[in-house]
C-alpha cells in the first residue's frame, strides 16, 4: 500500500489549489472527494437535461491572478467572462444599470441624482485605492499578533507600507471603513437610495448581517479588488459554470502529478501518538500519509474527523464559539425563454451582468430584521445571473438558466424545519422576482431550491455558511477561524487546514489553498 506525502480531504477549489501547489513542489498528493463531482461549492451539475447549473457558487471575482499564473490555469481550462453590467430593476422608472463604461453609468445614475453621478467616479477611485490595501492583506498569510518573528514583522511592515501609501485623508477613511456599516459608509458619498441599495448589498453577501450592521463596509472593497481594470469587470462568469474553475484546478493538480479520487468520503483522521498519520474512508479503507490537509470547514475537520476527545480544551472552547450563522440560500431555475423585466423590457445587455433585487437600504434592512428572529425574508435580497446569455453552452438554444442567490435564510428557523419550508422559500423568491419580471413563473421549466440546510447536507457546509464561517471582524485575519488555528495549523500535529474557514476565506479566491500549501511547505515536517 502506498504512503502519500499529503492527503487532501475534500476536493473543493481550495483543496485542489492546495494539492496543485504541493504536487508542484514534488510531493506525492492524493485528493479525496466525497461526492461524485469535484469542486465543493464551486461545482457545475446538469440537474435538468440540457441545462448546466452553477449549483452553489455562481460568480467568479477574486481568483488570485498569481495563482492562475503559477498553476497555468488558463491552459487547463480556466476561462472567465467578465460581466459588463450590474442591473437593478425597480417598480417605477427604468431601473438602474451600472456599466463598465463610466460615462454610461454616469448617465444612468444622473437620472436619479445628479450629485451621485458626479461623486461616483471619485468613489470608485477611492475604493480601488483602498482595495489595494486589502489585497496586500489577502495575498499573504496573517501575522501572528505581537510576534517578533522576521516573517511576521515583514508582513506587518508590508501592511504598514501599503497603508502609508494612501493619502492622509484616505488613511483616515480606511481606518473607519473596517468597522463601519455599509449603509453608513455609502451615506458619506451618496444621496440616492436607489444607488445605495445595490451598492450596500455587496457588503452583506454570505453574512448574517444587515446593511446597517457595523463591519459590513469593508466587504464592499471586495468589489474593487479585481485585477482587470475598471470597477465592474472584476466580476465574471466562468465558462461552463463555476465547476470549470474547479476542473481547471484539478487538471493543474493532475498535471503536476496529484491523484484525485471521487466518491471517497473520509470518515476520520488517523491519529497515532497525537499526530495525524492518514485517513480512514467510510468503507474502512485506510490511506497513510505524512500530512493531512483538510479542505473542510474547521468544525467539520476538528470535531468531525478528529473528535473532541483528542483536542485541547482551549481549542474546543474557541471553536465552539466560532460562528457559522448560515444566512443564504440558492434558487436555480431553468427557463423556457429570457425573463423580461417590466422596467426595461427586452433581452438587452443589462441582463448579461448580475441583477440585484435591492431597491433601497430600507428594503435590505427589513429583510434582515425578519431573518434575525429565525424566519426567512418574505421579500429577500436576490442577486441573480443569467449565465446562458453570455455562455450559450450551459443551456439548450433559446432556453436559459437563472441562478438566484437569496438572502436572508437563517439556518436556525424559529418555527418548523427547512424541509417543510423549502417550497415556501422558493415561492417567496419567485414571487419577489415576478414583481419585477411579470410572467416569470410561466417560463419555469425546472426549479431547484437550496436552503442553508440543503447546503449543509449537500456540500457539507456547516450551518450552510457559504464561507465556512461568518466573515465578522473577530473571525478574520489573524483570528480566522480562531486565534490559535489562524496559521493553517491545528493542535493535531501534521493536520492542516486549507478551506475557506482560514485566512483570507470567502469567495472563489483560491488564496486559502495557496497560502496553506505554502505554510505546509515551510514547515519542518513536509
Amino acid at each position: 500500500m502506498t504512503r502519500y506525502d499529503v492527503v487532501v480531504v475534500g476536493g473543493g477549489h481550495n483543496g485542489l489549489v492546495c494539492a496543485a501547489y504541493l504536487a508542484k513542489a514534488g510531493r506525492s498528493v492524493l485528493v479525496l472527494e466525497r461526492r461524485h463531482v469535484l469542486g465543493g461549492a464551486a461545482v457545475s451539475e446538469e440537474l435538468y437535461p440540457g441545462f448546466t447549473f452553477s449549483v452553489a457558487s455562481y460568480v467568479v471575482s477574486l481568483f488570485r491572478p498569481h495563482i492562475i499564473r503559477e498553476l497555468d490555469l488558463a491552459r487547463h481550462g480556466y476561462h472567465v467572462i467578465p460581466m459588463d453590467c450590474a442591473f437593478q430593476p425597480l417598480h417605477d422608472g427604468p431601473g438602474l444599470a451600472r456599466w463598465t463604461d463610466y460615462e454610461r453609468t454616469r448617465r444612468e445614475i444622473a437620472y436619479f441624482s445628479r450629485h451621485d453621478a458626479e461623486v461616483y467616479p471619485e468613489f470608485s477611485r477611492v475604493m480601488t485605492r483602498m482595495g489595494q490595501l486589502a489585497k496586500v492583506a489577502i495575498d499573504h498569510p496573517p501575522p501572528v499578533l505581537g510576534s517578533l518573528h522576521p516573517r511576521d514583522l515583514r508582513t506587518m511592515l508590508r501592511l504598514r507600507r501599503a497603508f502609508r501609501n494612501l493619502d492622509p485623508e484616505l488613511q483616515h477613511l480606511a481606518v473607519r471603513l473596517f468597522t463601519m456599516s455599509a449603509a453608513d459608509f455609502l451615506d458619506l458619498w451618496f444621496e440616492s437610495p436607489v444607488l445605495k441599495g445595490p451598492l450596500s448589498a455587496s457588503g452583506i453577501i454570505g453574512t448574517f448581517k444587515g446593511v446597517r450592521t457595523p463591519g459590513t463596509a469593508y466587504v464592499l472593497l471586495h468589489h474593487y479588488m479585481g485585477e482587470i481594470d475598471g470597477a465592474f469587470r472584476s466580476w465574471g462568469l466562468s465558462r461552463g459554470g463555476t465547476g470549470s474553475v474547479s476542473a481547471a484546478c484539478a487538471n493543474a493538480a493532475r498535471a503536476f502529478g496529484a491523484e484525485i479520487r471521487l466518491s471517497s468520503p473520509v470518515a476520520q483522521v488517523l491519529l497515532r501518538n497525537g499526530r495525524a498519520t492518514g485517513v480512514v474512508l467510510d468503507n474502512g479503507d485506510e490511506v497513510e500519509a505524512k500530512l493531512v490537509v483538510s479542505n473542510l470547514d474547521p468544525s467539520s475537520t476538528l470535531f468531525g474527523l478528529v473528535g473532541k476527545k483528542h483536542l485541547p480544551a482551549a481549542t474546543i472552547k474557541a471553536l465552539s464559539r466560532y460562528k457559522y450563522h448560515g444566512s443564504s440560500g440558492k434558487v436555480n431555475l431553468a427557463l423556457d425563454s429570457v425573463p423580461e423585466f417590466a422596467c426595461r423590457p427586452g433581452a438587452g445587455d443589462h441582463l448579461r451582468g448580475d441583477i440585484a433585487i435591492a431597491p433601497d437600504v430600507g428594503y435590505l434592512e427589513q429583510a434582515y430584521d425578519e431573518a434575525k428572529y429565525g424566519a426567512f425574508s418574505r421579500r429577500p435580497f436576490i442577486n441573480a445571473v443569467i449565465p446562458s446569455l453570455t455562455d450559450p453552452s450551459v443551456a439548450p438554444p433559446g432556453k436559459h438558466v437563472l441562478s438566484c442567490f437569496v438572502q436572508y435564510a437563517p439556518y436556525h428557523l424559529s418555527e418548523g424545519a427547512w424541509e417543510e419550508q423549502r417550497d415556501a422559500f422558493g415561492d417567496a423568491v419567485v414571487d419577489t422576482l415576478s414583481e419585477y419580471a411579470p410572467g416569470l413563473r410561466e417560463k419555469i421549466l425546472f426549479r431547484q431550491v437550496l436552503t442553508p440546510w440543503d447546503l449543509e447536507q449537500q456540500f457539507g457546509l456547516t450551518e450552510g455558511n457559504i464561507f465556512h464561517g461568518e466573515l465578522s471582524l473577530e473571525q478574520l485575519f489573524f483570528q480566522r477561524p480562531t486565534a490559535d488555528l489562524a496559521h493553517y495549523r491545528t493542535p493535531i500535529r501534521n493536520l492542516w487546514l486549507c478551506g475557506s474557514g482560514t485566512h483570507p476565506g470567502g469567495g472563489i479566491m483560491g488564496a486559502s489553498g495557496e497560502l496553506a500549501a505554502k505554510a505546509v511547505l515551510r514547515s519542518r515536517h513536509a
Binding site: L145, G146, P168, E169, H172, L173, V175, R176, L177, F178, T179, M180, D184, D187, L188, K209, R212, T213, P214, G215, R321, K323, G362, E365, D369, K372, Y373, S472, L473, E474, Q479, A483
Partner: protein
Amino acid sequence: MKAYDAIVIGAGLNGLTAAALLARAGWRILVIEQHNEVGGLAGPGILHDHGSLCTKLLAGLRLQDHGLELTRTAAPLHAATGAGERVTLSAEAPAGGLSPDDAEGYRQYRAVCSRTVPLFRKLLLRPVPQRKADFLMLLPCWRSAAARELLHLAPLSAKDFLDQFFVHDALKAALAVPSLQAMYGGPFAPFGALAILMHEAMRGQHVVGGLPALAGVLHEAAASHGVKTRTSTQAEEILVSKAGQACGVRLATGETIATRMVAAACSPKEVFGSLLRFGAQRHMFAWRTRHLRGRGTTAHMVLDAAAPALLPCTRIAPGLEALERSFDRLKRGELPDTFALEIAAGRKAAQLSVLAHCVPYRPKGGWTDAARSELTGRVMEQLLPHLPSTAQVSQLRTPADLENEYRIPGGHCYHLEQAPDQLLVRPVPNFASPVAGLFFCGSGAHPSGSVTCAPGALAARAMAAYQKPLGRLFRNNRHI
C-alpha cells in the same frame, strides 16, 4: 482689554475640567454657558453614570478640598428581573439573587473585565497614538494576552458576548444597556461588547450626591483658580483670523470676545455645523465632519415618586430579543412598546430620574403631544410593577429636546455615537482641529464613554502642549 488665553464653550463637566486645569496652569480662562446653571447634561441629571470619574487625570485639581466625596467602592447595580424581583450585581460581593449558573457566569464576566480593563484604560486614557514613538510604546500592550482577548471580544454583539456568561434574559438585557446608550444599534449589533467593556473599564468610585454635585465641585475648583464663567450666554460663532487661527467668539448678543484659543466643549457637530462659518473649513475635512454620526436614542424623564421599592442604579429591560425588536421599530421611526430603563435618584428627595433607551430621535409625525404622552404612558406601564401608583412623570426630554436644549445635533448624550469608527478618531484625532487654536474638549472628543471628565483633562494637556514654544513645531497635523 487683554484677550483671554482661552475661551471654553459650554460649562459641562468636560468644559469645567478643561477650564480648571488650564487656569491652574496660569491661563486666563472664560467659560461661556448658554444655560443659567453650569453642569451641561449633568446639571439636571440626564447622565447617570456617576461611577466613572477618572480621578487620576483630575488629581491636580484637589477636588476633595472643594467638597468632592467618593464612596469607597463601585456602586452595585440592580437589575429588575421580574415584577418585584431583583438581582444585585457588585464587583465585590458575590451577586445576590442570582441562580447558581448566573452567579458563576457573573464571576467569569468579572474575570474577563478585570483582565481586559487595565489595557483598555491604558489605551483610552491617553492621547491617540499617532507618532512612531507612540506605537512603539504600545507594542508591549499588543503582545499581551489581554490584547488578544480584547481584540476577540470587542467586535462581538452584546448578545454574543453576554450569552457566553449568562442564562437569565432580563439580566443579560440589563447588562447590555450601556451598549444601547453608546451606540446606534440593538443588542444584536456587532461591537456591543466594545461598549459594555468600555463602560466597565471606566467604572470606579462613585460620586456622593451624583453628577449635579460633581458639577458644583468642578465649578468651585475652576473658580478658585480664577476661571470666569458667564452663564446665560450663547456663543454664535467662533471667529477665525485670516491666517486660519481661532481668535475670538461672537456671542448671540453681537458682542465679540477676543481670545488666543478656543476649547469647544459642545458637540463637534454643532461646531462644524453652525459655530464655524463656511470658508474656515477645508473641503475634505468639511465632508468628513458633515457625516459624523450622533443619532440619539435616549429620552430622560423625571418622576415624582417616593419609590422605596426601586433603588437607584436599577436597570429594567425586557430581554435581549425584545430590545432588538424595539430597536427595529426605532429604526423605522416608530415608538417601541418596551424600552431599556435606567433609574437613578433625582435631584430632589421624592424624585426619580429615568433614562429610557430605544426611543426614536424623531418618530414619524414628529414629537406631538400625543406622541409624548404615548411615550410616557408606555414607560410608566413598564415601570408600574415597581412603583407606587401615585407616581407620575413631571418632565420629559426626548432626544429631539436634548438637541434643542443643549445644542447637540442628533441628541446623543455622548455627542457622537461610540461606533468603533468614531472612537479613536473622534471627532478628529487628538483634540486639535484644522483651525489652529481650536480644540475639542467635550464628550465628542476622545475618549468619551460615560462621564469620565477625561476628554476635558486630555484636551487641556493637548492645549498646554500646543502653547509651549516648540509645541507648534511638533504638533501632529497629519489628519488635516
